[in-house]
C-alpha cells in the first residue's frame, strides 16, 4: 500500500463529521440519505476498485430514491433521470476494470470518472441538478466519491498527475465552484504525497458552507496549487512552467473572487472549524508531515493567486463580468420526445382473493404498505455493508 493504513480512516471520519453537522442543521434526517452516506464511507475504506464502483452506484441510487420520495413531480423526474447520469459517470472506470487495465491507463479511466462526477460545468452533473434547496451536501457526495475512487490508485508518475489536475483546474475553473477546485487540488496533492493529500481532506468540514471560512479554504488551495506547481519541473520547460502556473493561479483566484459569502449559524461554523482542527490535529499526531521547500514555480503560483484575488476583490463590484463563471450547456440539450406509458390503454391488475382472517389481513396490510420499501432498503443496506467488508 502506498500510504499508511491509519490514513484510510481520516477521510471517512471527515466525511461523517460533515454529515453529523448537517444532521444538526436539520438538512438531512432521512433514512436513505444516511444509507447513502454509509455506502460512500464504506467506499472510502475499501481498497478494491470494483467494490468501490458498486458501492458508489448503490449510494447514488439510494440518494436518488430519497430525493424522489421527498420532492415535487419535476424533481421526481430529475431524480430518475439522474440515475442514468450517475451510472454513466462510473462507466469509464468500470470499462478500465473489465479490460484489466493497469498503471496510467487505469488511472486515466478513473480520472475520467472523477471529471464526470466532480465538475458541475459545462454540463450540470446529476447531484447539482437534483439537489434543490440542499445543494451543498449532495455536491459533497460528488467530492467524496471522487476521492474514494482516487485514493487506492498506485501512482508511478505522480508529477504527471499533478500536471493533469492543474490543467483540469484551469479548464474547469472557467465555470466550476470553489469546492470543486479545492477537490481537484486535493486529488493532485494526494498523487504527490498521500499525507499532504489527507491533510487537505481534513479541511472537508470547511467546504460545507461558503461562510468566512472560505478564506481558509482559499489559502489552503493556493498552497496546494503551489505544491503541485513545484512538481512540474520535469515535464515543462521553466518558462512554460511559470506561464502555466501563473494562469492556473489566476483561474483559481477568479473562482474564489466570484463566490458570494453567506451567513451561517455560529454554532454550525464553530462545529465545522472544530472538526477540521480535530482531523488536522489527529493527522499531525499520527503522522509526520513532509515540510516542502518553496521553489520559484510554487511561489509564482501563490503570487499569481494572491495578486488576482486581491485585484478581484477590488474590482468585483465594478466589473463582475470578469469573474463570473461562464455559462454551461443548457440541460437536456439533446432531448427528444418519448412516448411514455401514459398514452397506452390500461387494464386493471387482478389478485387471488385471500380469506379475511385477522392474521392474514395483518400480513397483507403490512406487505402492501408504503413503509415496506423503507424496511426492505434498510435490510438491503445492512446486507451490502456487511458484504463490502
Amino acid at each position: 500500500m502506498h500510504y499508511q493504513e491509519s490514513l484510510l480512516w481520516i477521510p471517512a471520519a471527515a466525511f461523517l463529521s460533515v454529515f453529523f453537522v448537517n444532521l444538526i442543521g436539520q438538512r438531512y434526517r432521512r433514512g436513505l440519505s444516511s444509507l447513502a452516506v454509509l455506502f460512500v464511507s464504506q467506499a472510502l475504506l475499501t481498497k478494491n476498485l470494483g467494490y468501490i464502483i458498486v458501492l458508489l452506484a448503490l449510494a447514488d441510487t439510494f440518494l436518488g430514491v430519497e430525493l424522489f420520495l421527498s420532492s415535487k413531480v419535476d424533481e421526481k423526474n430529475r431524480a430518475v433521470q439522474s440515475l442514468y447520469q450517475s451510472a454513466l459517470s462510473l462507466l469509464p472506470t468500470a470499462l478500465g476494470l473489465m479490460l484489466r487495465l493497469d498503471g496510467n491507463s487505469l488511472i486515466s479511466c478513473v480520472a475520467v470518472t472523477i471529471v464526470l462526477r466532480l465538475y458541475s460545468w459545462p454540463v450540470s452533473h446529476w447531484l447539482v441538478e437534483i439537489s434543490g434547496d440542499n445543494k451543498m451536501f449532495p455536491t459533497y457526495i460528488g467530492i467524496v466519491s471522487s476521492f474514494a475512487l482516487w485514493h487506492i490508485q498506485e501512482f508511478l508518475q505522480p508529477e504527471l498527475w499533478a500536471l493533469v489536475w492543474l490543467s483540469l483546474a484551469f479548464l474547469f475553473g472557467l465555470g466550476s465552484k470553489y469546492t470543486e477546485m479545492y477537490a481537484t487540488f486535493s486529488l493532485g496533492l494526494f498523487a504527490l504525497s498521500p499525507v499532504l493529500g489527507i491533510a487537505s481532506v481534513c479541511l472537508w468540514p470547511l467546504l460545507a458552507r461558503p461562510t468566512y471560512t472560505i478564506y481558509l479554504v482559499a489559502a489552503f488551495s493556493a498552497v496546494s496549487g503551489g505544491l503541485l506547481a513545484q512538481s512540474l519541473s520535469g515535464y515543462l520547460a521553466p518558462e512554460a512552467t511559470y506561464a502555466f502556473v501563473s494562469l492556473v493561479g489566476a483561474a483559481l483566484a477568479r473562482v474564489f473572487v466570484a463566490t458570494a459569502i453567506v451567513k451561517a449559524r455560529w454554532y454550525m461554523v464553530a462545529l465545522d472549524l472544530f472538526f477540521a482542527a480535530l482531523w488536522i490535529g489527529f493527522l499531525f499526531y499520527t503522522n509526520t508531515l513532509p515540510i516542502p521547500i518553496p521553489t520559484p514555480a510554487g511561489v509564482t503560483f501563490v503570487d499569481s493567486f494572491v495578486f488576482v484575488f486581491l485585484l478581484g476583490k477590488l474590482l468585483y463590484k465594478k466589473k463582475p463580468g470578469f469573474f463570473k463563471p461562464f455559462p454551461g450547456f443548457p440541460p437536456h440539450l439533446f432531448s427528444k420526445e418519448i412516448i411514455g406509458s401514459d398514452l397506452l390503454l390500461e387494464r386493471k391488475g387482478a389478485s387471488v382473493e385471500m380469506g379475511q382472517s385477522p392474521f392474514r389481513v395483518l400480513i397483507f396490510e403490512a406487505l402492501e404498505s408504503e413503509g415496506y420499501i423503507a424496511i426492505l432498503f434498510g435490510l438491503l443496506g445492512a446486507v451490502l455493508l456487511w458484504g463490502a467488508k
Binding site: L83, G387, A388
Partner: protein, 379 residues
C-alpha cells in the same frame, strides 16, 4: 377461474415431478432450473393471463413440459426436436394473445421465424453438413428464437406485448434451451476460429439491437428489445467457457424470466415509489436483482475476447438506460390498479436480489462448488 388456477399449479407440479423421476443425476439441476424459471411466470402473472382460458393454460403446460423434456434428451437431435416443438407452441400462444394487427407483412408474424427455426433444426440433421455448418445452424436457431419478438416489433399494438407472459415464456424456453445446449451439447468447434469470435460478435449484435431501440419512441417497444438482448446475454455468458460466468448466466436466466413478469403494466404513478422502483428494476438499474446478475456475469476475465465482449455488453446496457435521461412521469394519471401481494413479493425479490452483491466475494466459489462439483452441470 379458481379451477383453472388450481389445474395450472397442479399441472406444473405434476410435470416437474414426472421430469424429476425421469431425470438422471446430471439432468436433475436442469429440471430444477426450469421449474424455478417457469414457476415465476405463474406466481407473478398479476393479470392472470395464463389461467384466463383453458387454451392458454394447456399451451403453457405443453410448452413447459416440452422444454423440460428437451433437457432430459440424450442426443442433440432429440433436444432440437423438443425445442422446435416448444418454439412452435410459444409462437401460437403469442399470436393468440397479442392484440389485433393489420396482418400485412409475412415477417411481422412470429410464425415466420418459427418456420425458419424449424428449417435450421432440420438442416442440422442433414448428413453431408460439416460440424461447422451444423453449429452455425444451431447458433442461428438460438439467435432467431432470442430475437423472435424483433420480427413483430413494427406491427400495430405490439407495445402491449411488452412484459407479457408470452414474452416471459419465450425468454424461459430460449434461456433454458441455450443454457442446456451450451453446457451439454456444445461442439468443440464452438471454441475454435471462426466461432470463437462470437464472444465478441454476440455483444456486438446486442449493441446493434440496442442502438436500433433508440429509434423507437415508445418505452415498451424498447423493453421488448431489452428482453431479447437479455436472452442473448444469457447465451453469451454460458458459452464463454468459464464456470462462474456460466452459473451467473443460470441466475441471470431466472432473474430475466421473473423480472419480465414482475413489471407492472399500468402507467407509472408519481405517488407510488414502489411501483416506479419495480419498473426501473426491470431495466437492470443499480439496486435491482438484474443489476446483481449483470455484475456477476461481466466480472473481468482472463480471455481477451470475453473481456472485450463484457465491455460491449456494459455499453449495450448503458444504451438502453440512456432513455432514463429523458424520463418524465405521465401528467395524466389513469385509474391506478391496487398494489397486490404479488407486487410486494416482486419488490422483495428484486431488492433481496440486489443484496446478492454482498456475496460477490464468495459467489463464484460457493456456486461452483455446489453446482459444479456436486451435480456436474457443465460437461
Amino acid at each position: 377461474m379458481r379451477a383453472r388456477i388450481f389445474f395450472l399449479v397442479l399441472a406444473v407440479f405434476l410435470v416437474t415431478g414426472l421430469a424429476v423421476v425421469q431425470a438422471s443425476e446430471t439432468r436433475l439441476p436442469w429440471v430444477l432450473i426450469g421449474f424455478l424459471g417457469f414457476i415465476g411466470i405463474v406466481v407473478f402473472d398479476s393479470y392472470q393471463e395464463i389461467p384466463k382460458s383453458w387454451t392458454n393454460s394447456a399451451l403453457f403446460i405443453l410448452i413447459y413440459g416440452l422444454t423440460l423434456q428437451s433437457c432430459l434428451e440424450s442426443t442433440p437431435d432429440n433436444f432440437w426436436r423438443d425445442q422446435a416443438g416448444a418454439v412452435f407452441l410459444a409462437t401460437i400462444l403469442f399470436e393468440q394473445n397479442s392484440l389485433p394487427w393489420s396482418g400485412l407483412g409475412f415477417f411481422r408474424s412470429t410464425m415466420a421465424p418459427s418456420v425458419l427455426y424449424f428449417l435450421l433444426v432440420l438442416a442440422q440433421t442433414l448428413p453431408f453438413f460439416s460440424a461447422d455448418v451444423v453449429f452455425g445452424c444451431a447458433l442461428g436457431a438460438i439467435l432467431l428464437f432470442s430475437f423472435l419478438e424483433l420480427f413483430s416489433i413494427l406491427r400495430e399494438n405490439n407495445d402491449r406485448n411488452s412484459g407479457s407472459f408470452m414474452s416471459a415464456i419465450r425468454s424461459g424456453v430460449c434461456g433454458l434451451g441455450s443454457l442446456f445446449y451450451s453446457a451439454t451439447f456444445l461442439p468443440g468447434t464452438a471454441k475454435e476460429a471462426p466461432f470463437v469470435f462470437i464472444r465478441v460478435g454476440l455483444p456486438l449484435l446486442g449493441l446493434a439491437v440496442a442502438t436500433l431501440s433508440l429509434f423507437f419512441r415508445q418505452w415498451r417497444r424498447r423493453y421488448i428489445l431489452f428482453c431479447c438482448n437479455w436472452s442473448v446475454f444469457v447465451f453469451w455468458a454460458a458459452i464463454t467457457g468459464e464456470a462462474p460466468r456460466f452459473y451467473a448466466a443460470v441466475a441471470a436466466f431466472i432473474a430475466g424470466v421473473w423480472t419480465i413478469m414482475m413489471t407492472n403494466r399500468r402507467a407509472a404513478d408519481a405517488s407510488d415509489t414502489r411501483d416506479l422502483y419495480l419498473k426501473l428494476s426491470a431495466w437492470g438499474v443499480p439496486g435491482s436483482l438484474m443489476f446483481s446478475m449483470i455484475v456477476f456475469a461481466l466480472f473481468p476475465s482472463e480471455s481477451l475476447l470475453v473481456r472485450e465482449g463484457s465491455v460491449l455488453w456494459l455499453v449495450t446496457f448503458f444504451v438502453y438506460w440512456s432513455g432514463l435521461r429523458k424520463f418524465e412521469l405521465p401528467k395524466k394519471q389513469g385509474e391506478a390498479s391496487a398494489w397486490t401481494w404479488r407486487n410486494s413479493l416482486a419488490l422483495s425479490i428484486t431488492i433481496a436480489g440486489a443484496g446478492l452483491l454482498a456475496g460477490a466475494k464468495y459467489f463464484p466459489e460457493i456456486i461452483t462448488q455446489v453446482l459444479g462439483q456436486s451435480w456436474g452441470v457443465i460437461k
